[in-house]
Subunit: 643 residues, 2 copies
Amino acid sequence: MGVNSNRVEDFSSHETALRINTEAVMPPMIHSVCPPPQQTTLQKLKLRLGEIFFPDDPLYRFKNQTLSKKLVLGLQLLFPIFQWGPEYSLKLFRSDIISGLTIASLAIPQGISYAKLANLPPIVGLYSSFVPPLIYSILGSSRHLGVGPVSIASLVMGSMLSEAVSPTEDQILYLKLAFTATFFAGVFQASLGLLRLGFVIDFLSKATLVGFMAGAAIIVSLQQLKGLLGIVHFTSKMQFVPVMSLFSTTEMSGPGKPLLLASSMKKPKLFWVSAAAPLTSVIISTLLVFCLKSKIHGVSIIGHLPKGLNPPSANMLYFNGSYLAVAIKTGIVTGILSLTEGIAVGRTFAALKNYQVDGNKEMMAIGLMNVAGSCSSCYVTTGSFSRSAVNYNAGAQTALSNIVMASAVLVTVLFLMPLFYYTPNVILAAIIITAVIGLIDYQAAYQLWKVDKLDFLACLCSFFGVLFISVPLGLAIAVGVSVLKILLHVTRPNTVVMGNIPGTQIYQSLSRYREALRVPSFLMLAIESPIYFANSTYLQERILRWVREEEERIKANNGSALKCIILDMTAVTAIDTSGIELLCELRKMMEKRSLQLVLTNPVGSVMEKLQQSKVLESFGLNGLYLTVEEAIADISALWKSQP
Amino acid sequence: MGVNSNRVEDFSSHETALRINTEAVMPPMIHSVCPPPQQTTLQKLKLRLGEIFFPDDPLYRFKNQTLSKKLVLGLQLLFPIFQWGPEYSLKLFRSDIISGLTIASLAIPQGISYAKLANLPPIVGLYSSFVPPLIYSILGSSRHLGVGPVSIASLVMGSMLSEAVSPTEDQILYLKLAFTATFFAGVFQASLGLLRLGFVIDFLSKATLVGFMAGAAIIVSLQQLKGLLGIVHFTSKMQFVPVMSLFSTTEMSGPGKPLLLASSMKKPKLFWVSAAAPLTSVIISTLLVFCLKSKIHGVSIIGHLPKGLNPPSANMLYFNGSYLAVAIKTGIVTGILSLTEGIAVGRTFAALKNYQVDGNKEMMAIGLMNVAGSCSSCYVTTGSFSRSAVNYNAGAQTALSNIVMASAVLVTVLFLMPLFYYTPNVILAAIIITAVIGLIDYQAAYQLWKVDKLDFLACLCSFFGVLFISVPLGLAIAVGVSVLKILLHVTRPNTVVMGNIPGTQIYQSLSRYREALRVPSFLMLAIESPIYFANSTYLQERILRWVREEEERIKANNGSALKCIILDMTAVTAIDTSGIELLCELRKMMEKRSLQLVLTNPVGSVMEKLQQSKVLESFGLNGLYLTVEEAIADISALWKSQP
């Protein structure tokens, strides 16, 4: 307790010094707290909505420009391809063509298997890798997104539609419903973007994404492991092969392995190895299987597929009848799911390369490509996690890789189908696994643990949720944890007792700054949070406890009695009616104990509400100051003149 | 633009003055930013959990006390009755006995009708007005809560249980399930309190409660209007009376009307009138109906009820068998509903009389009274809205009014049943309506509209939700709106460009303080929110826009080029990993533009995270200052020495 009493003594000399300082050197000028400029409700609403929906002031480039320039800028805004197109170089093209061809080599088996998941004919999966990527490359703002059908949306569409219509007995109706659902998914996604609700995706934090990537990587790997072990999907010939024979089969499918290892041990310097590895693996393994086809048996290969271009399907959209509700519901559900995946994946790779993905633009791009897809025999597509990972790893630089992929798929669908006949499924599985395993970011997770335990918890929730429950639910839980963290911070805000740093006008936390000293008869509290209904009860209890503890401390040290509580409102960035009531009640409670309650430095919006609610009048002339320093100087002077 | 260039010129002279000031009068002392004291994760967790679950430091009274004193304090903590009991006076008793008797006169018809809603024998409703109020008066912390069965929980219990078991065909099993559901409701409620999850109810804001009260008042009034119009509930004699004859009946039930008017026009000064009115109305109207019974017909009266005390029902609890799941589910649902109503009502009246209701204590009190009730033939009870309103209006002062009510109900059940035979239902309906209509608080709603539009929206949601959907859903929507408001504030925080108030070290918003001036070559931004994943994208865009706009302004005014961005972190009360990344990225982006990024005055928790993430190292020596003033002085000096 010796330290404390020393402090008090220390201080009294300091206080004298301070008074001399303020009175001799500077005039004891008191600045009044200004309210923000007067605005009508409509003006405030306009400003607020502007901040919510157009924080980036998207049209600022158009100011003071000639009409032709405005036109160019407008085109660039609508079609990001005009932004990067003019600066496109041969070097970029080399990277894009390799990555485009690589993902094209994935698009074929993926399209087939995911279409099967959705109970659709395999060729629909291939069609879906042609039209949507073309549209996306013109409209999308991500440079690394590999567009195509995804497992989750395929699975959900398959199960939701087949509950209403049998895909085997009523094939045509089922196909119609699938295209209609795709249409509504697109309309739903595009309208979210049009309404500028892209900020919804801001709630997917980095922590959530680290967990999501790791969980999704494991799921995709496990799915692909089936292929790696040689389990046959596309021919029924092998259906009854006993489990034990799988292992011998796996040994047969050896050619992929060394390449897989080579590509998984890639270094950033060895760009060409990592970029060329998947495609080379495909070519070599296909050739090997083709040459050895008479000697080895049981290797799972892609096999025969029909040829032909996307037929138009706008006439198959189904806008009336008893199944319309099912189609709309399926469309909205798969639309949300695919949007979440697409934007999460887009943001992930944008973060890795330090560029921004505009959520609203992405939603519109994905939506429009699905609307276009539904008219050209495609089902729901989005940014695919595995395809984007391969695209990124193969060195994609712009959305052109999607055009390359689409062209490659087109050529394949038209002419090259027979060449892929002998591609072993195992090599495709290996490429996917290699790509996604690299995205499990232990170090980021460790950094989260070190810096922010609750972020780490969100990461874990996202990881285990995605792994053991489902992708959307896992993401939802992680977002829930993140939001809970915000609410927890608001519900239990920090309150800090402040002291003066001698010789300055700085007031800082006593517990952090050892040189800071208490000011006798004053208790200075900083509230570090908005004051809301959710914390007004807590803050009242906490402030009363600080006052009680301060009084006990003074009693123990025989200090001068507490006379004034200063609430520093600098960090109280908002207040609501419950918060205003708290201030009123606190003032009354303090008055009953003969303590004065003073507020310092309320921010604009708080000041406005204090004025509107007339609560300032009850605080009187000596109840509001601009700084803690001025409050102490003025109130001390007042006490001297009225002892 | 003239004003702006004037400002800049103005400033240059001010800057010289300032430099002279800092260099001549005060030494240019730079204070370093201290991190908070070192703590282990466990210590931090302990502190954090303490703040979350025990912000009021509930055991502080026990410190430095003798054992016997500790015992007394412990008793008071567990049983609030020991707090107010010793100071109880005859004056309080007079108020409590009147209000107790008044609510007792309500308890009888309410008990009967609500028990019918739950498909239970009418007498169970009366039992439920005897044991639970006794328990609550010992354990509860609200002084105005009138305890008894409530319509919502009764309705839900009736519909959920009768889905599983027919209340008419299997009466005993149905009764068993009702008691078992009550038992589980109590256990659930008490365990919420034991786990100190009482802060959950902090999310019911004043705005929500204003709307809830108004909506509930209208619902209860509409329910009671049936009684007021004389529709018969308890005798089947009148079932077929044509609608038109209702009006003649209503005329017959005249005696209540003048009293109803008298009591509805109550003034706070006319305490006795408002307190005595309901009971007097009951007595007079009963006598009138009794005297005139041979002359008038068709007046709906309470009629005959069986006599007897609560029989024990612990042996009727049902802990195995196929219906256990239904009982548990019903218990949890009715438990949540009745807890929400009870605590909302308790908080409402506590706010009106300026005292605190401890959420955790309330949950335990309500939970234990339901557990006790389930063993004494009672079904789910809680703080009833209508009963509490009457209790409050009749002048209740302490929980003793519940004991008075329970005793009155006991005496009634045992002996006085025949006296209430002739009480007209209409007078009871009139009492309830008068009580609840007074709780529709137009003025509070208008005040909400004036001060905070979003609070008003929450109030409206709560009002219309309760009125047109259901009480729990209405409350849930209102809480959702309130939470959304918090999230909106976090998602789109305020950023303010600051200037210096000449002659001081004060930096304030340029838009609010006309005397504040820009400092040439510096852009000072205050961020008024924690930096989270939810706003880091927005903040990045917004800060870049401020920089862009500042550069455009300087260009237009031919001012000195922007060299340094100062981010004032005083109001950034928390940061997460996304926020830290934002700072890193901003620093890099500014560096590319040859701009220096400087942080000032990060609070304790932010400073800690900046250190842990090693981000401070990248900011270097001139990247962190305690105040804006010191940052400007030091960096300006640096520029001078290295031109």
